[in-house]
């Protein structure tokens, strides 16, 4: 009897080993994140599934615009000025002379303001570089999944958006890492990465090559996006692609093409009224916004409370500006340039403090020239304001500038008038210095939005002078820097130099 039991036990134990072991079980898949093998499997399962895979990749590409901590630093090291594409615009705006930062407290962006952060070992050149190349990588990943000759309209729209994203990313890169295009066509630009599986790196390509790629990508994108109707202004459609192209041509001083692209870009968008201008730049429903991010409370940049554009720029939101006094003010010359009937003047505290007598967030006192342009969100101070990346007035001003350059003062003046009718009822277009006036209005109109404070002085080969009589810049920021100074141009980050076999220290900017 006992013996029989014992045989039974062998059988049972054998069964136990078999039932509890199964090597297939060792293939585990994440459930909260997605693995590449899951995507590949799905995409290969049937052609219709390809769209299922790419759609979230497209959404992720736009999610990158508002991503917090793109550098992936630990909680202890995380940078509060790493909050998406707006961080990049912010840095650029600080490096010009249009934006005044009233206090150095907490230091964020202040050293950009002092033009001290261009060195290869500093965080900001690395941040800008990796952020934009990540954006390029996301676009390339999408492009690699869709055949170039795809006929499907949805696939074409996906390709178009990815190409446009890649192009604008390169455009920002070259605006940070080289002087302007004109006169530097054969100087080294940035490495061109268009392939997905690249772990090696490629050399810096000339500015001409980089601009050629941008123009081609955008031209292709415009074709691919023809007929595409987007769900929200949080996606790139043909008008936005035209807008990017207009910016690229403006940099290239290809006036005719710039005017043409800008005009097509803003077709269908009105110019907002002065009243809308003063509504706080908070919602994408503003009729002239062309492209932006719709911000919801689940985004990390909102949940951090203080790591977002409005924390730094808005005097009425909870954030760095209102809590630590590092307000953003407008350069006094730009303020004085606005006539008293210009509604935009009411976006800034007047020297006598009458614009915002009740102060900003929680009644904090607002000093002269501090902006009220960026208002609090309607839900209170939670910084869920939408973010603007492109709007019709910019396109109008590009066209106006291009027309003026093309010696078409009549057309240029008419365009300027179209804008200013909505800003200042008493405005008359000056008869002389029209070009200069258009550029001044561009700085005023787009103050604090998209980084043109730096991009324009580089493009126009101007220097900065913050040390003028009556300057409202803080003492330590009263810098005078000549045109085309290397201070306006970042060095390539050390991490690129060290790890890219094709870019050595000798290839870096001086």
């Amino acid at each position: 009897m006992k013996r029989i039991y014992k045989y039974l036990i062998f059988i049972v134990s054998g069964a136990l080993v078999l039932t509890t072991s199964c090597s297939d079980e060792l293939n585990t898949e994440p459930k909260g994140t997605v693995s590449q093998s899951q995507i590949t499997k799905l995409a290969e399962s049937d052609p219709a599934a390809l769209a299922l895979v790419i759609e979230p990749m497209i959404a992720g590409m736009y999610g990158h615009l508002v991503t917090f901590n793109s550098m992936g630093l630990s909680d202890a090291q995380v940078k509060h000025d790493d909050h998406g594409i707006k961080s990049i615009f912010h840095i650029a705006d600080m490096m010009g002379e249009d934006v005044v930062q009233t206090s150095s407290s907490y230091n964020w962006y202040y050293h950009d303001y002092l033009l001290e952060l261009r060195d290869k070992d500093y965080t900001h050149p690395y941040f800008v570089w990796q952020y934009l190349y990540r954006s390029i990588k996301l676009a390339n990943d999408i492009l690699a999944k869709i055949p170039e000759d795809a006929e499907d309209s949805q696939m074409k729209a996906f390709r178009g958006q990815a190409l446009a994203t890649r192009a604008y990313s390169y455009h920002y890169l070259v605006q940070f890492f080289q002087k302007t295009y004109v006169g530097h066509e054969d100087d080294p630009g940035v490495p061109i990465v268009t392939e997905v599986e690249s772990e090696e790196g490629t050399p810096r390509k000339s500015m001409r090559e980089v601009y050629t790629l941008m123009v081609k990508d955008l031209t292709d994108a415009i074709k691919l996006l023809d007929g595409y109707s987007r769900a929200t202004k949080g996606f790139i459609d043909q008008s936005v692609a035209y807008g990017f192209l207009a910016r690229v041509y403006l940099s290239m001083e290809n006036w005719e093409a710039a005017a043409d692209a800008a005009s097509k870009a803003r077709s269908g968008y009105p110019i907002m009224t002065g009243e809308q201008y003063l509504a706080g730049f908070k919602y994408i429903s503003n009729p002239e916004w062309m492209f932006g991010s719709i911000v919801t409370s689940d985004l990390d940049i909102v949940k951090t409370g203080i790591c977002n554009h409005n924390s730094f720029f808005s005097s009425f939101s909870y954030g760095y500006a209102s809590l630590t006094g590092m307000f953003k003010a407008i350069d006094r010359r730009l303020y004085d340039h606005m006539s008293d009937t210009d509604s935009r003047k009411l976006a800034y505290q007047s020297p006598d403090g009458t614009t915002f007598p009740d102060g900003g967030y929680n009644g904090v006192e607002l000093a002269a020239y501090v902006n009220g342009k960026f208002g609090a969100s309607d839900d209170g101070a939670d910084n869920t304001q939408d973010l603007v990346y492109m709007r019709a007035s910019e396109m109008l001003l590009i066209e106006a500038e291009a027309r003026a350059e093309m010696n078409q003062p009549g057309e240029a003046a008419a365009l300027l008038k179209e804008l200013m009718e909505n800003r200042d009822p008493n405005y008359t277009v000056p008869t002389s210095n029209l070009l200069e006036e258009i550029r001044q209005q561009r700085r005023i109109e787009l103050w604090g939005e998209i980084g043109i404070a730096l991009f324009d002085i580089k493009r126009l080969k101007l220097g900065i002078n913050r040390d003028y009589p009556g300057s409202n810049h803080p003492e330590d920021a009263k810098l005078v820097v000549p045109a085309e100074d290397w201070k306006f141009t970042y060095m390539l980050p050390t991490k690129e130099i060290d790890n890219n076999p094709d870019v050595g220290p000798e290839d870096n900017n001086p």
Partner: protein, 1026 residues
């Protein structure tokens, strides 16, 4: 009718008991020579089955009948003694059986006799652990075992300490694998009451740990819970009560008048530096002083007159308030613990039952841990050839854990540590009258009110916030350990076991709507729940045989492991009114999410132990793991270890050296792995989800695929010599070389590829060191026995290979030849005696020229010592005086450096609203130009990171004192009890460090900041055995 029968039976029983010739005998069993009580000694009346075993204090008692009985005392490793009973007390000294000196210790997949084990293990007795008043056994480990480095950890009740065994074996998570009753444990460490732990074994070398395969490279800690032993049932009730306070005091800081004067000096010097002429600067500083501090004038004189033009406090000024944040924020914690357990057994079945309740209060209000726990461990012999057992436990705990680390001002330690003394806790008006609410409660000062704006952490008051916020973590852990064992033939057995852990976590974080960060959102609550379930099933075949002098003990088997973690988290904000904390009450959904992770192992095991004549021992262990963390083609690997040991003292030629009780040498070598590399999907390319474009769900490439990624490997060699002599002294020395290769590292990529790094197995580390244990019976008088044990550890950690020439990791520089914890900081070179400015050293990168500079940005970083101590360990005293047991544990670290950032923050140069350390009183001034502390002049670079704040990390911690009083037998027998013991314990009683306020045991990497300091607990308890 039934009642009548029962009554009759009862009466009959009583009569029979009364009629019996009962004689009670009791006594203590100790080890001859050392006087250490021996628990578990079997005491049997010769010729009967009547008997008992000694308790943990070596005490036994028996009721005897019959004439001239003889008691037989037997215990493994001791010579059996037979003694006739005369009188009612019989104390026995057991003589160690030197042929078979054997302390049984738990090791991987079984037990072994310690002196025969070829690997390295140290064992800590549960009774020793139980002398600590902590909810988490990891907090007791520092100083108890050679080569084990444990941090002091957070003082928050229930938190873990970090443990490293024999150095730092990886750049990633180097914490050891924890095994509970034979199976890797995935529950919370604080779920295990110390009173349930029988022993903790620490496996230190590869041959000992290799049976845990790809999870064991960082060492293994095996916890064995208590079980019953054959004998009469015992009931043991323990009750204790304790109080806790800060074990680490705050730094010495300046007083209110000193603060105003120093701050005045800072403003004045900054003005002078900015070009103001000194006389004007003096009066301007006096005028500005109160306003730069946010309008806080703690004196009854006008703001401009608090400090005169020479920087001295107005002699007529009287304080309007002088609140102490320390006194208000910190409370005396109370600790209450009750445990009751019962154990016993028959020939066939043994049991251990335990239940416990712990309520441990922290030292900040709203910080505590409450825990209920229970365990049942039952083993039974079903047939002569079938054994089975089941060990079930459950532990429910609730922890309130306010913010107490990090740089948030809500962290009470940060806030109270840094705030200038001029700022009050409560709200006072200009006249110094404290403000109250309608019910007469004092209002808190939030840094606003009466036109003030506190320069430090405005709109915050941790006292106000702590009481309204909620940070509550519930942890429910259930464990199962079960086995069935069949004796198939002589020496051959088959064992099937299942171990399972269930860990449910529920956390609530609520930021209140009234004050602080939650104010802007009308309150915000986040809830997180996790469900973890893991199980291991194994089937093992064991074979034991012997022939001649040879004996072999072999095992082979299969094991599978599965781990599943589900998480669910959600956040909402916008509460209608205060005191509501649950999400249902809030209006705005902010975030919600869930995830699932799976992790599995499939393994095969082989274990062979051989000995010849109890003189030569050899072992070979092997495990093959298939691991779901790695790609299919890189998934399987085998790990092995072998060891040899020779008991020289058993040889003929040493038999004449009777003074030598034991002499043995051993060596082992093995290769094993660490699979804790990155995520559970270590090889896959991953996309992060939730990167959405509003309603359009987005994914974002977050990780590049690494199909060849594999576990980190460890080669480890251990050599040891062990001796015992004169029946009094012992020494155990082990030397080890551990090489860790294939360490996971982020290999940097050019960022232009879109990724900045890719994971790869590239780096190498080594840890070479020794462990030394010395034991001695210092005093062995009639009523005083004193044992002293000393353990020491030392190791050198060295980086042997990196993917880059050097990597800066915070304030460390990693490069080949250095250790992972070598500080790399700016070097402080004193103070410029002319200007009072800080001097730092620099070396010009191009010319190599060296010098000193006052510009921080020019300063060069140099190596400045290591955070790793030169020597660390503990001194453990066990003293028995009459009926008192005293044990004293001193743990220590010698050498090494710590970056004292708590001190650093207090040595600023006039940062508004921040307190100063008293050392600042000896700062540079024109009159004190030789000072080594820079002037206060508002220069924010003054207290930047530098070697100035690196402090000697040596420490001596009087970690535990435990005094027990055993009631004399006469009293106990009168009370009809088996024993009563009164206990007084003190944990973290005194700490000696280089600076008051510093805790060098806090971290492994030499960092120390504003953290929940360890708590000192004094407690009294009583232990009654029925």
């Amino acid at each position: 009718m039934r009642n009548i029968i029962l009554t009759f039976l009862f009466v009959a029983l009583s009569i029979s008991v009364a009629n019996a010739q009962i004689k009670r005998i009791s006594g203590s069993v100790t080890t001859s020579g050392t006087g250490v009580p021996v628990s578990g000694v079997s005491v049997v009346v010769k010729g009967t089955t009547l008997g008992t075993v000694t308790n943990q204090d070596g005490y036994y008692q028996l009721n005897l009948s019959g004439d001239s009985p003889v008691l037989v005392f037997s215990y493994i490793g001791m010579k059996t003694r037979e003694l006739p009973v005369e009188g009612s007390i019989l104390d026995v000294a057991m003589i160690p059986d030197n042929v078979d000196v054997d302390e049984v210790v738990v090791v991987a997949y079984g037990t072994t006799v310690k002196n025969q084990f070829t690997g390295s293990v140290s064992s800590i007795d549960g009774a020793r652990l139980e002398q600590f008043q902590t909810a988490n056994f990891t907090k007791a480990l520092q100083g108890l075992s050679a080569g084990v480095l444990a941090t002091s950890g957070s003082g928050q009740p229930g938190e873990d300490a970090d443990i490293r065994i024999r150095g730092f074996s990886t750049f990633g998570d180097a914490s050891p694998l924890v095994v509970l009753d034979g199976f890797p444990y995935d529950g919370s460490l604080s779920a295990l009451p110390l009173s349930e732990i029988e022993s903790v074994s620490i496996l230190k070398d590869a041959s000992a740990t290799v049976l845990y395969g790809s999870r064991a490279a960082n060492g293994v800690i095996i916890i064995t819970t208590k079980s019953g032993t054959k004998g009469p049932s015992k009931l043991d009730l323990k009750v204790s009560y304790g109080i806790s306070n800060r074990a680490i005091p705050d730094y010495d800081k300046v007083t209110v008048p000193e603060y105003y004067e120093l701050q005045w000096e800072g403003i004045r010097n900054a003005l002078v530096a900015g070009g103001t002429n000194p006389d004007d600067a003096n009066s301007m500083a006096s005028q500005q002083l109160i306003s730069v501090l946010g309008g806080y004038n703690a004196y009854n004189v006008p703001a401009g007159e608090v400090v005169d033009e020479n920087g001295a406090i107005n002699p007529d000024a009287e304080l309007l308030w002088n609140d102490s944040w320390q006194d208000q924020l910190f409370v005396t914690g109370q600790r209450k613990e009750v445990t009751i357990n019962s154990s016993g057994g028959t020939d066939k079945t043994t049991y251990f039952l335990s239940g416990g309740m712990l309520d441990e209060g922290g030292i900040i209000s709203a910080s505590n841990l409450k825990r209920f726990s229970a365990r049942a461990n039952i083993k039974t012999q079903i047939r002569s050839w079938i054994n089975a057992g089941i060990n079930l436990s459950g532990s429910l705990s609730e922890q309130n854990y306010p913010v107490s680390s990090g740089s948030s001002y809500l962290n009470s330690f940060m806030f109270s540590g840094l705030i200038a003394p001029i700022y009050p806790v409560y709200l006072y008006n200009e006249k110094g009258e404290v403000q109250t609410d309608a019910e007469g409660n004092k209002l808190f000062d939030f840094g606003t009110g009466f036109d003030r704006a506190r320069a430090f952490a405005s709109n915050l008051n941790p006292l106000g916030t702590i009481t309204h916020d909620k940070r509550e973590y519930k942890k429910d852990v259930f464990t199962l350990r079960s086995f069935i064992n069949f004796e198939l033939a002589e020496g051959l057995s088959f064992n099937a076991s299942v171990g399972a852990d269930y860990f449910a976590y529920s956390g609530l974080t609520h930021q209140n709507m009234k004050y602080g960060d939650g104010q802007n959102f009308n309150g915000r609550s986040a809830r997180q729940t996790n469900r973890m379930f893991s199980y291991t099933a194994n089937q093992l075949l064991r074979y034991v045989t012997g022939f001649g002098g040879h004996s072999v003990n072999a095992m082979a088997g299969h094991e599978s492991y599965s781990y599943k973690l589900n998480t669910l988290a959600a956040t909402r904000s916008g509460f209608p009114f205060p005191e509501l904390v649950e999400l249902d009450a809030a209006a705005i959904p902010e975030k919600s999410g869930s995830s699932e992770d799976n992790y599995r192992l499939e393994s095969y095991l082989v274990k062979v132990e051989y000995d010849y004549d109890k003189r030569f021992f050899a072992s070979f262990n092997m495990r093959a793991d298939g691991n779901s963390r790695f790609a299919e083609n890189a998934r399987w690997g085998s790990f092995w270890g072998m060891g040899l040991s020779w008991i020289i003292s058993h040889e003929e030629f040493l038999q004449d050296f009777t003074a030598l009780n034991l002499l043995r040498i051993k060596a082992s070598y093995g290769e094993q792995g660490n699979d804790k590399v990155g995520s559970y999907y270590g090889y896959q390319g991953l996309y992060k989800t939730g990167v959405n474009n509003i309603d359009f769900p987005g994914i974002l490439a977050s990780r590049l695929p690494t199909p060849v990624l594999t576990w980190e490997s460890l080669n480890s060699l251990n050599m040891g010599v062990e001796a015992e002599f004169l029946n009094r002294y012992s020494i155990n020395f082990e030397y080890y070389i551990r090489n860790n290769s294939d360490l996971l590292f982020e290999k940097p990529l050019p960022p232009s590829t879109g990724f900045t790094s890719i994971d790869a197995n590239i780096a190498e580390l080594s840890n070479v060191g020794f462990d030394l244990e010395l034991g001695g019976l210092i005093l062995n008088a009639k009523n005083v026995v004193w044992n002293l044990d000393l353990n020491l550890g030392h190791f050198k950690n060295k980086i042997k290979e990196l993917p880059q020439k050097s990597i800066i990791s915070g304030n460390k520089l990693w490069q080949e030849g250095a250790s992972i914890y070598d500080f790399w900081v700016e070097e402080f070179a004193g103070v410029d005696s002319e200007t009072g400015k800080t001097l730092w050293r620099y070396t010009d990168a191009d010319t190599g020229e060296k010098g000193v500079t006052t510009s921080y940005s020019k300063a060069t970083r140099y190596y400045a010592g290591s955070a790793i101590p030169d020597l660390f360990g503990g001194i453990n005293n066990t003293i028995k005086i009459f009926d008192f047991d005293l044990s004293v544990l001193l743990s220590f670290g010698i050498g090494g450096k710590v970056m004292d950032s708590g001190y650093q923050w207090l040595m600023h140069s006039g940062q508004y609203g921040y307190s100063f350390h008293r050392d600042i009183l000896d700062r540079w001034t024109p009159e004190n130009s030789q000072a080594i502390i820079p002037a206060i002049d508002g220069d924010s670079y003054t207290n930047r990171r530098s070697s100035r704040f690196l402090t000697d990390a040596s420490y001596f911690n009087l970690k535990n004192i435990s005094l027990g009083y055993n009631f004399p037998e006469a009293v106990i027998s009168k009370l009809n009890l088996a024993g009563i013991k009164l206990k007084f314990t003190a944990d973290n009683l005194a700490l000696a460090t280089a600076r008051k306020g510093l805790d060098p045991q806090f971290s492994l990497d030499g960092s120390y900041g504003k953290v929940y300091v360890p708590i000192r607990t004094l407690s009294v308890g009583v232990d009654v055995q029925f």
